[in-house]
């Protein structure tokens, strides 16, 4: 049922391999690309190859970087004694947006998942332990996702970090701002109660 000439079909097939893009979306994008000026397409192609060629992992924290170190690790003003452990580089962006954290990061590149057989060996766990002493780290903030995989990872890391004698903290779970209490699940609400704050002081 090859209705298109080969180059178009190849383009559609390649686009269809991208996440979240089905055959119909691939077709629509392909035809859009055929319609726009050649310059636009060249710019897109350049952006793709350029990103792939230049981007690599930060040698220290496994964030994506375009140099030996990522911009955060290279920034001298950031506090080197606090490290925030996250699953993906995307999570760094989310935390940076809060403007609340001035330390460094460590990206695990995933989370432990016993059901899928993903263990600590497949993650950048050893690399985290290797950073503790040389960098004089005094606090590790476990900032993995608050789902089963993230919790397993956090609890496992907390156990393994015990001998290092650093302060180990876990980000709090609670209610999203703007949400209704009525719809909160028991686990979240329970944790929100557990981590309540004093307002009387």
């Amino acid at each position: 049922m090859a209705a298109y000439t080969t180059p178009v079909q190849v383009l559609i097939d390649e686009l269809g391999r991208l996440p979240g893009i089905g055959p119909k979306s691939a077709q629509r994008i392909a035809f859009h690309l055929l319609k726009v000026p050649a310059d636009d397409v060249a710019r897109l192609a350049h952006a793709l190859t350029e990103a792939k060629a230049k981007v690599r992992f930060c040698a220290r924290c496994w964030n994506i970087a375009d140099d030996e170190l990522c911009p955060i690790c290279a920034d001298e003003r950031r506090d080197p004694t606090t490290v925030c452990v996250v699953e993906e580089a995307r999570d760094i962006v989310a935390i940076e947006r809060t403007g609340e954290f001035r330390g460094r990061y460590h990206v695990l590149l995933g989370a432990m998942s016993p059901l899928e057989g993903i263990g600590p060996e497949q993650l950048k766990v050893k690399e985290l332990f290797a950073r503790i002493e040389p960098e004089g780290i005094t606090e590790v903030i476990l900032c993995t996702n608050p789902n089963t995989e993230g919790e397993v990872t956090a609890m496992y890391l907390a156990r393994m970090l015990q001998p290092f004698g650093v302060r180990i903290t876990r980000i709090a779970s609670g209610l999203p701002v703007g949400g209704d209490l009525e719809y909160a699940d028991e686990l979240t609400l329970g944790r929100a109660l557990e981590g309540r704050r004093d307002l009387s002081a």
């Binding site: 016993p114 496992y156 156990r159």
Partner: protein, 240 residues
């Protein structure tokens, strides 16, 4: 089918990410067997489901029957998840249980017995973390599937003493002259008889020792033999 909406209680066995913010949840329901369903928007922070559809959750559900996948419409907790997910040992034990049940249960094949066993076992896991919680469940699971191991006499010649080996392919213990499979110590045999002979609580109270370790190893091998695949949770935590 006239009404596509149905109610059931279920345990979440595992979840898969779907698209941007959805998840596929694999459920063992009380009346509809193993069901795969889509939970829309669960990965968003403001989701109405929140933590209720994480693995190991015991929930009352309102579901919409679809062709391949059902859709979770509402979910309400039955048992609180907190004691299971707040301790690494409880959590890994719980995951080991649901992994085995996920392999054992059949799609849309009602298995109320399996459901009740799992709910009971998860409540046990939430309260205690002895070394035999998971192995004992594996033995019970095998027994309920009709492959209860023979522990009283040699499976080949019927001799009652001395029983020195356990062979998963033969389905039971063997005497010295017929021996095959893995060797079995008398203490481990006694514990296995305890588990399958109605003295489960006594067995669960045993502290970790080479004996409990041996019983656990036999249980894992037997279940893996029956399922014809490796158990990932077990393999992962054996190495630590």
């Amino acid at each position: 089918m006239t009404n596509p909406l149905y109610r059931d209680t279920a345990v979440v066995l595992r979840t898969y990410k779907l698209g941007e913010a959805d998840r596929i949840v694999v459920l063992l329901t009380e009346h509809h067997g193993k069901v795969r369903a889509v939970a829309k928007g669960v990965r968003k922070t403001m989701s109405k489901f929140g933590a209720r559809l994480e693995p190991l959750s015991h929930v009352r559900l309102l579901m919409y029957q679809g062709r391949e996948l059902d859709i979770v419409s509402q979910a309400e907790s039955v048992d609180t998840l907190a004691p299971l997910v707040s301790d690494l040992d409880h959590l890994t034990n719980g995951l080991a249980l649901v992994e085995a049940v996920d392999q054992m249960a059949l799609d849309r094949e009602p298995a109320p017995h399996l459901y009740r066993m799992l709910v009971g076992a998860l409540r046990t896991v939430a309260e205690r973390s002895g070394p035999l919680v998971v192995p004992a469940f594996y033995w019970k699971l095998l027994a309920s599937e009709g492959v209860r191991p023979e522990l009283d006499e040699c499976v080949r010649c019927g001799a009652e003493d001395p029983l020195v080996a356990f062979d998963v392919a033969e389905g039971g213990v063997l005497c010295r002259s017929c021996r095959s499979g893995a060797s079995l110590s008398p203490d481990a045999l006694a514990v296995m008889r305890m588990i399958l002979g109605g003295r489960l609580n006594e067995a669960l109270d045993l502290p970790a020792s080479p004996i409990t370790h041996e019983v656990a190893a036999h249980a894992n091998r037997a279940l893996e033999h029956h399922l014809e695949r490796r158990l990932r949770t077990v393999a992962m935590f054996e190495s630590h």
